[in-house]
């Protein structure tokens, strides 16, 4: 039975890892292009979950249909927020530290606002897929997870295509490598930055819906947990590297889930952090450091 459980843990880890990597991906795009340490990322994720909750309650929209709506909604919010908040940071002496503090403040503000408007009770999206689970031998996989996995793969695929095959995507990667050089060749870095922040928050919103589907209860307090997971993942994979997030997510997911099987959940959290510290120790630029990107 333990062998079955281990296999189950491994599969769980792969699926969760890929979904976690979405958190890292959006966090990394924002950090890579804007040098903004988005400490409020987790709160935007939870806001995405609440958006799906209210779209379902008020308009009867299923979480699947809500995803594109939420992406557009959050992308617009991100676009606007760029001009209101992020742009001003560039004028600071030390934009990275300033962004950390501003975003930390935003995180606290958003958490408090959600608590005020949505109350502290745990909420849950009301939906069920038929059949609820699929059996592969002794291994049970909830259909929701498979669907969430498929959506994650599609999103990752589109992102990869966007980053490597389209002009704005290539420009975006170029900004990650050398911001001033991109400006000198006549690309509107401003517009690109606003777009990036928009895409980043759009992903955060969609990730929130996916997470609310597979982890059924959410509350205003959960944001910080996701921010933390996001940062562990991008430290593992390499700061500012979009594909690094994918590897970081998988590594973290599998380590966490297998540890739950072998020990317990409290130990799993510990092992996750130990992994991060080990990477910082032996490979400070992450498994996919910025060197590999060039």
């Amino acid at each position: 039975m333990t062998a079955d459980l281990l296999l189950q843990g491994l599969i769980n880890g792969l699926i969760l890892g890929l979904i976690y990597s979405l958190i890292g991906l959006s966090l990394n795009i924002i950090f890579g292009v804007l040098r903004v340490v988005n400490f409020a990322h987790g709160e935007f994720i939870i806001l995405g979950a609440y958006a799906a909750y209210f779209l379902q309650r008020l308009l009867g929209l299923s979480p699947f249909l809500a995803m594109p709506v939420i992406f557009v909604m959050f992308a617009l919010i991100g676009w606007a927020l760029y001009f209101v908040l992020v742009k001003r940071l560039a004028r600071s002496d030390d934009p990275e530290t300033a962004s950390l503090l501003v975003m930390f403040g935003l995180s606290i503000t958003l958490g408090a606002l959600m608590l005020f408007f949505f109350e502290a009770d745990a909420r849950s999206l009301d939906y069920m897929l038929e059949p609820p689970f699929l059996m592969f031998g002794n291994i049970v996989i909830p259909t929701t997870r498979l669907v969430a996995l498929a959506i994650t793969l599609v999103i990752t695929g589109i992102t990869a295509w966007f980053l490597y095959r389209t002009f704005p995507g290539k420009a975006l990667r170029a900004v990650i490598m050398n911001r001033s050089a991109v400006a000198t060749v006549g690309i509107d870095v401003e517009k690109l930055s606003a777009m990036t922040f928009g895409i980043g928050l759009g992903f955060a919103g969609v990730t929130g819906v996916l997470l609310a589907m597979i982890f059924p209860a959410f509350s205003p307090f959960a944001g910080a947990d996701y921010t933390l997971i996001g940062f562990i993942i991008i430290v593992l994979g390499g700061l500012g590297h979009p594909i690094g997030a994918l590897v970081g997510g998988l590594l973290f997911g599998v380590t966490e889930q297998v540890t739950v099987v072998l020990a317990d959940n409290s130990v799993a959290l510990l092992v996750g952090f130990a992994l991060m510290i080990a990477v910082i120790f032996f490979r400070p630029s992450g498994l996919f450091g910025r060197q590999q990107l060039r």
Binding site: N12, A122, D126
Partner: protein, 407 residues
Amino acid sequence: MLKQLRNAALAAAAALAFTAPGADAADDKIRIGMTVSSAGNFALASQSGVRGVEIWVDEVNKAGGLEVGGRKLPVELVKLDDRSDKQMTARVYETLITDEKVDLLFAPFGSTLTAAAATATERLDKFLVIWSAAADTLYDQGFKNIVSATQMPVSRMPVASLDLAKELGTKKVAIVYVDEPFPAGLATGAEAAAKERGLEVVLMERYPKGAKDFSLILQKARASGADVFFPTSYEGDLISMVRQMRQMNINFPYTFMVYASTPQFQAIGEDGDYIYSHTNFHPTINWEVNAGLNREQFVEAYDRLFPKAEYPADFQTVLAYGAGAIAGEIIEKAGSTDAAVLKQAALDLSGELTVLAGPYKIDETGKQLAMPFPVVQLQPEKGMVTVWPSEVAVAEPIFPIPAWTDR
């Protein structure tokens, strides 16, 4: 809130001003002291509780008072503010005893403040009636003059649900808990209670606060072969567990969730069906009381005395009211307000009384051994109904819980 604060401040000021002349009034009435939290973490629960005591005082005085030594003496409640503050609580209980010259005391809300109050009442040798302190440690400190009239300690809260599990013929228990003081205390209590009843504890699994995914924990519980699934976490985690149990077709013949009795949990709808939980105040829980009001009379008294209360009576009100009714019996039996005599009377009455909150039974330390939280089940047609113990059950437990695929 502002008004309550002002009232509390006025009460405190008035109490201080009249301390000297009022001090020898003890002969023609029984003065009971307690603190209420006008502000801070415990304000809401504390104010819910004090209403219960006030209902009891009103009921006693309408009947002419308590019979002590052949005379009927009315009861006077002296309330001061503790602002949910531990240090302040100890000081105010001293004030109540030395300046207000109260005859006995009711505890403040919660274990933290009650422990502070008990240090004062022990030192000054007064009797303390507890209605809401659930920490086991409080009763292990050798306090002589305390009695938990209605609140059972955390370690005993899982007792009734495991009695029912045993009765239903289950054998193996899987306990899962979030690593926080109260849920961990419940889990340890459940482990001990299960072993006492000859049930085998096949899984004792802890997880950190903030965990989102329970799928592997649930599968470990299934793999352990348990027929009783006993998570002691808060609502949010329990909701996740139930949903994931359905998503992975995980079934246990008996699933008990402490917070499944809350409206927040029940908002999840039919996924919550058949789950067992517990509560002590519900329209289907009606004990055969032999002291104080029954549930209907109590609700009527609450509405009459507190027509403007923002909340209906809750379990704190019930526990505090029950403690009042039991204290009344103890005082009449003792015929005195001497702490040692009252404690002896409290022990003599152990096993003899049943109040609104349930039957009363204590040990030498003053720890409450009875007052079981009756077990309820969320039944599809009937909603939440009491299924155990037999004195208050109104429906048969549905056992085993039907598998997800058979619903």
